[in-house]
């Protein structure tokens, strides 16, 4: 829009400039002809036998009648004395001998341009000023200007059109590399913070330079925060590991049941806080990755099989049997690490809460509208009165401080699935147990 407006302003400006130049030129040429006419009359003046004789050249007036017919007037005066022509023709006032002047005036119903020239003539009464004024209507000038007006309107309009076209072409060619740049930047993975190397026009070099500098700083700050999280985890986990290990060793060695119970509670507490720390760190990582969601092809059944396999040793420790009875092929776009994390959290819950000897069945079913990944167990299912609460915890940015253990695990899973455009559902299957399912719509 601002492009159109400025083109229009320029076009109008062009129109007025052309018109102004044209009318100046037209005025100039009319003045020139008028002056030539007046001068030819003045030149024919002779002082003969006591009186001014004027042999008015035929061309003096005929030259003023062009293709466009003009009305022509003239007046010849010897100082204040009218000699010939149109007595009432307005005359220029002042002026010295030999000079000339032009002015416009109304005469006999039309606007006329008047040129006056004068020179001194030697008479028997001394030097006297002979003045010749020639006037011409401005029909031709008006018509010419009207023609020029149309032409310059055309020029203005043409200028407008061509500048708009040009602007569009320029904008396109400016935007195209910008688009390429946008595409190349937006296609990048969340961790791809390499400098942009795509060729860009030199006008955009500063943009790209600052973009690259921003990426550099972002990369630095991201790796710093990643390092920070990793470092925090390390700092917390290593002492916990020492304490827990020592506690386990101690529990094996002491015989006093009270001390063993105390040690068991200690280990229990350590595991609790460790898990919470783990999930909080996971949540932070998930949140970070969700903001920079990568779009890889994820083979869902393969991801499920690998994840289940990884959890199998743990489940077997609890005598819980993990099954993958149906794994139908499905590929979706997303972040495999996040998806795996979501599934791990759900599996973790299932293993944690399912009773000894329970079965957990992990299923991938491909349907027309999308894929369903469900984790169902043969346990007691979710307590009906807590279903609501569990769902309530899914709200993003919910009070994570209150949420520990499984709640946060489901929150993480929910956020990951939402970010992939899917749905997470918690149901109890009548006569079977609890079921957590992810739905991934066909993208």
């Amino acid at each position: 829009m601002s492009l159109l407006a400025s083109a229009a302003v320029l076009a109008v400006a062009v129109y007025f400039v052309v018109m102004s130049v044209a009318s100046q030129v037209a005025q100039q040429s009319q003045d020139n002809v008028l002056e030539a006419s007046a001068r030819s009359i003045l030149d024919s003046a002779r002082f003969v036998a006591g009186e001014i004789s004027l042999d008015l050249p035929y061309s003096a007036l005929s030259m003023l009648d062009g293709v466009v017919h003009e009305r022509v007037f003239y007046a010849i005066r010897l100082e204040e004395e009218f000699l010939s022509g149109y007595r009432d023709l307005p005359r220029a006032t002042g002026g010295k001998a030999g000079t000339h002047g032009f002015f416009s005036a109304a005469f006999l119903g039309d606007e006329v341009r008047i040129a006056s020239v004068q020179r001194s003539v030697a008479t028997d009464m001394g030097q006297r000023v002979l003045q010749v004024s020639v006037a011409q209507t401005r029909m031709g000038q008006t018509q010419a200007l009207a023609r020029i007006s149309r032409t310059s309107m055309g020029i203005g309009f043409g200028f407008f059109l061509s500048s708009v076209l040009l602007a569009i072409v320029v904008a396109r060619s400016t935007i195209r590399p910008l688009d390429r740049l946008t595409v190349s930047v937006s296609r990048r993975g969340p961790k791809d913070l390499r400098p942009v190397a795509a060729p860009v026009p030199k006008e955009m070099v500063p943009l790209v330079t600052s973009l690259n500098s921003l990426m550099k700083r972002l990369k630095k700050s991201l790796s710093r925060s990643e390092d920070f999280i990793a470092e925090a985890a390390h700092r917390v986990r290593t002492p916990l590991a020492i304490v827990r290990t020592k506690a386990e060793v101690a529990r094996r060695r002491v015989q006093d049941p009270a001390t063993r119970d105390a040690l068991s509670e200690m280990i229990h507490a350590i595991d609790d806080s460790s898990r919470t720390a783990g999930q909080l760190l996971d949540h932070a990582m998930v949140t970070f990755r969700l903001d920079h969601l990568s779009e890889q092809d994820v083979d869902l059944p393969q991801l499920v099989a690998e994840t289940v396999e990884r959890q199998r040793p743990v489940s077997e420790l609890k005598n819980i049997h993990l099954m993958t009875s149906v794994l139908e092929p499905w590929v979706l776009k997303g972040d495999p690490i996040l998806l795996q994390n979501a599934l791990l959290n759900v599996l973790d819950n299932a293993i944690k809460y399912a009773p000894d000897g329970a079965q957990v069945d992990i299923v991938v079913k491909a349907r027309a509208g999308g894929a369903v990944l469900s984790v169902s167990d043969t346990g007691p299912g979710f307590p009906e009165d807590e279903m609501e609460t569990l769902t309530g915890r899914f709200a993003r940015g919910g009070n994570a401080g209150d949420v520990i253990g499984s709640g946060l695990g489901l929150t993480i899973a929910k956020e990951v699935i939402d970010a992939h455009g899917g749905d997470l559902n918690i149901t109890n299957i009548a006569g079977a147990g609890g079921c957590v399912s992810f739905f991934f719509p066909l993208s």
Binding site: L54, L56, P57, Y58, L61, S62, D65, H69, R71, G85
Partner: protein, 335 residues
């Protein structure tokens, strides 16, 4: 005879006692018609009548009042605000031009004015509807044993070689009295220096000076003159009894006068006037069937068509006119 007619007209139309002298006057069409057109003209009624008839056929309920005056009187009549005419027709192109130039004419532009040649329209105010060449009329009897001059050089040689035969028997316009004569003379001088030589030769032969073309033609027809210079060719052609004289259009150049019409600013029926102008133009320029135009076409190259425009006003300039007349008088009278 003209004088007699003049007196008759004066008594017959005493009510148009005006600030100008009327030479002739008539009415065409329906008296008291619904539409009325007043035309002031320098052309004879007989000349004009054929032009007006078709118009009346198309406009049956129209009355046309036609007043014949001299060109000088026509000018005076139009400048007098008491007289309103719807059309002014004159052969005095310079005066017509001056009238138009001075803003005394209405502009008119129509398909008819746009379709005629450029030389026939000036400033959408002045429209030419006839082309009338200035011709040399010679007495057939007088030239029985002499070669007919084809151009001005022939004429000059002839006059110089037979001064006795032509003395007192050469006629031309008195340019001091005739506007048309003045126009022809000034245009001749513009075209060639030959005019002044011819004028001096005629002056040396005691040329007789006339006010009007018709008088000159009469004089040639009667044998009173052997040769008349710058006679309106159209009048000569239309004259009965043509065996008595021959018309020569000089081949060096033939000055052509354009009879023009304008619509005075004070016109009472300007719309009807415009229609009449269109009618005149269409008639005149549609097909050059009449003798003069056809003859002119054959000598197109030597035609010196007087150009309508402000140039014509140069010879109306009082200083210029005074100088010209003084020179002319010196040449023709040779006192």
């Amino acid at each position: 005879m003209r004088f007699l007619l003049f007196s008759l007209v004066l008594t017959a139309f005493a009510q148009i006692s005006a600030a100008f002298e009327i030479e002739d006057q008539t009415r065409f069409g329906v008296e008291g018609g619904a539409e009325r057109l007043r035309i002031i003209s320098t052309a004879d009624i007989a000349f004009f009548e054929p032009m007006v008839d078709p118009f009346l056929t198309a406009h049956p309920d129209t009355e046309i009042e036609y007043v014949v005056v001299s060109s000088a009187e026509l000018m005076r009549a139009l400048q007098d605000e008491n007289e309103t005419f719807d059309l002014a027709i004159s052969s005095a192109m310079d005066l017509q031009t001056k009238l138009a130039n001075d803003g005394m004419a209405l502009r008119h532009s129509s398909s008819a004015t746009l379709s005629v040649p450029a030389w026939a329209v000036w400033n959408d105010m002045l429209f030419a509807f006839t082309q009338e060449p200035a011709a040399i009329v010679i007495s057939n009897a007088g030239f029985a044993d002499l070669p007919v001059p084809k151009d001005r050089h022939d004429l000059i040689d002839l006059l110089r070689n037979h001064p006795d035969r032509f003395r007192g028997r050469v006629g031309t316009y008195d340019v001091r009295a005739s506007g048309l004569g003045y126009l022809f003379a000034t245009q001749d001088t513009r075209a060639s220096e030959t005019y002044w030589r011819l004028t001096e030769v005629m002056g040396a032969l005691d040329a007789r000076l006339y006010c009007c073309s018709s008088d000159m033609i009469d004089a040639v027809a009667s044998g009173e003159l052997l040769i008349a210079y710058n006679v309106l060719g159209s009048y000569a052609m239309n004259r009965v009894g043509q065996d008595a004289f021959s018309i020569v259009l000089p081949t060096d150049f033939t000055t052509v006068m354009l009879r023009t019409v304008l619509i005075p600013k004070a016109a009472a029926s300007p719309d009807l006037a415009r229609e009449f102008v269109d009618h005149l133009l269409v008639q005149a320029h549609a097909a050059p069937t009449d003798g003069v135009a056809a003859e002119l076409e054959q000598i197109e190259t030597s035609l010196n068509r007087i150009r309508i425009g402000p140039g014509l006003m140069v010879f109306l300039d009082q200083l210029k006119k005074r100088a010209f007349l003084s020179e002319w008088t010196n040449a023709i009278l040779q006192d």
